[in-house]
Amino acid sequence: MSAVLDPAPQQPVGPTLLARSQGGDRVALEQLLARNANRVFRWAVLLGLSAADAEDAAQEILATAARRIATCEAEAALSSWLFQITRRVVSNVRRGAWFRRMFKPKTGSEHAAAFESPTAADAEMELAVRRCFQKLNPMHAEVLLLGEVEGYTRPEMARMLGIAEGTVASRVRLAKDAFKKRWDDTLAEVEGGGA
């Protein structure tokens, strides 16, 4: 099993930055959070949150990470560690979102684009993909996010999710199957003029 959990992070974090953050250097901490803000926001969105909820969640994830930065012992484990926090926070926000929906009318903002998209087609694709992710079982959304979007290997995913590699493989297969079904449903909805 590979010990490298962050093979090609979007913006690599130097050990000095992590060490300085752990030593109480708030400038270094802010840089560390800034380097990971895009990533945790993307995770929150693809784990089913609206753009607004994902922003709140990303803030909470980074605040939690900052408070517990001393418990992140290795630079290589940073991604995995952040992902654990993300799962917990996203789950909490999702529960809170359900509660808010009980008392607040829908505004339509829950379907607003979350990412900066260079073209309208990209934005449409993003919304369609997100709609599919939202309808997936969270276990399936997680493996698609880590494997297909972020490009982690199965051993790395197994480590991050705390499951066996064989389980990752079967979960990925089921997730792809489920995603394809949701995708077909989404296309049918769009073609039929549905929501």
Partner: protein
């Protein structure tokens, strides 16, 4: 099964929010972790306590749910694990959660649920009700039982590590160490050994009975469980027969391990050393190797 051709999820790897949003996220996070001064906690603590009490009264459940603790990967060892008691449900919503079931360790994977059917000093019976769980079984004494059920299947361990996952009508078993006996409604279906996995589905065709090779090992393990000196001697005889009949059998590791342990237990030190040496020649590392090395040194 692959994703639809028009969907390339890897394109989202660079997806990011608008710069203003990213800035707000970081600033907000930093503001929330700013060092605090003053005595706001004098008000906050009683308010939080009262709120917590109210929530506990409203949402109190008969089956306590474990708190999810975020730990940095690779920062084990874990502190003392929470111990399951009979009737308790171990559930992990967001990440893997470790528990103790008697002297054994259970790690419930995210979204998994394990019911402690019976936790007694000499018998642990668990049920995987949903998702996956990994079990690390400590060496069992002769009359000890460690069994995990999933649907109609029962997985019985003899000093082993294994994982059970329930997915729809199927139950998947993966054995990391040792051997697991699988049975349905009291009938033995299969012995699954180290490094092997098996998927058992409702309604699927299963072997009618164990093979002769399976049967020999299963009988030997039953005798080991019997525990008396006569049982252990009988187990040794069966295992020797197994080793002769199946010199390259799938249970060779298991047979040598038990032959060494049983010989030691029966006071046959030379035999114990010889079996341990054979075992160590093929499997020099791992918990069992350490155990046998200790036996051989005595």
């Amino acid at each position: 099964m692959s994703l639809p051709q028009e969907v390339d999820l890897s394109k989202l790897r660079e997806a990011s929010p608008a710069p203003a949003v990213a800035r707000r996220i970081v600033e907000g996070a930093m503001a929330r972790t700013a060092p605090r001064r003053g005595k706001g906690w004098l008000i906050a603590v009683p308010v939080a306590f009262a709120a917590g009490l109210a929530i506990a009264v409203v949402f109190l459940r008969p089956t306590p749910r474990p708190e999810i603790v975020v730990i940095a990967p690779q920062t084990l060892p874990l502190p003392a694990l929470p111990a399951l008691v009979s009737g308790q449900v171990a559930e992990a919503a967001l990440g893997p959660v470790p528990f103790r079931a008697g002297k054994h360790h259970v790690k419930v994977a995210a979204h998994g649920k394990v019911v402690a059917t019976k936790i007694e000093p000499r018998a642990v019976r668990l049920q995987v009700a949903a998702g996956a769980a990994r079990f690390e079984v400590q060496p069992l004494e002769a009359d000890e039982v460690f069994a995990v059920s999933a649907g109609a299947l029962t997985f019985e361990a003899v000093g082993t590590q294994f994982e059970v996952e329930v997915e729809g009508d199927c139950t998947r078993l993966e054995v990391q160490e040792g051997i697991v006996r699988v049975s349905r409604a009291g009938r033995e279906l299969e012995l699954v050994t180290e490094g092997k996995r098996g998927t058992f589905c409702e309604g699927a065709q299963v072997p009618e009975s164990l093979s002769e090779e399976d049967r020999l090992l299963s009988d030997a393990l039953d005798k080991v469980r019997g525990g008396s000196d006569a049982d252990l001697a009988e187990a040794t005889t069966i295992l020797r027969r197994y080793a002769e009949q199946y010199p390259a059998g799938v249970y060779r590791q298991e047979a040598l391990y038990y032959l060494a342990r049983l010989s030691h237990r029966l006071g046959r030190a030379d035999e114990a050393r010889a079996f341990a040496a054979k075992f160590l020649a093929s499997w020099p590392t791992g918990r069992r190797a350490d155990e046998l090395r200790a036996i051989a040194a005595k």
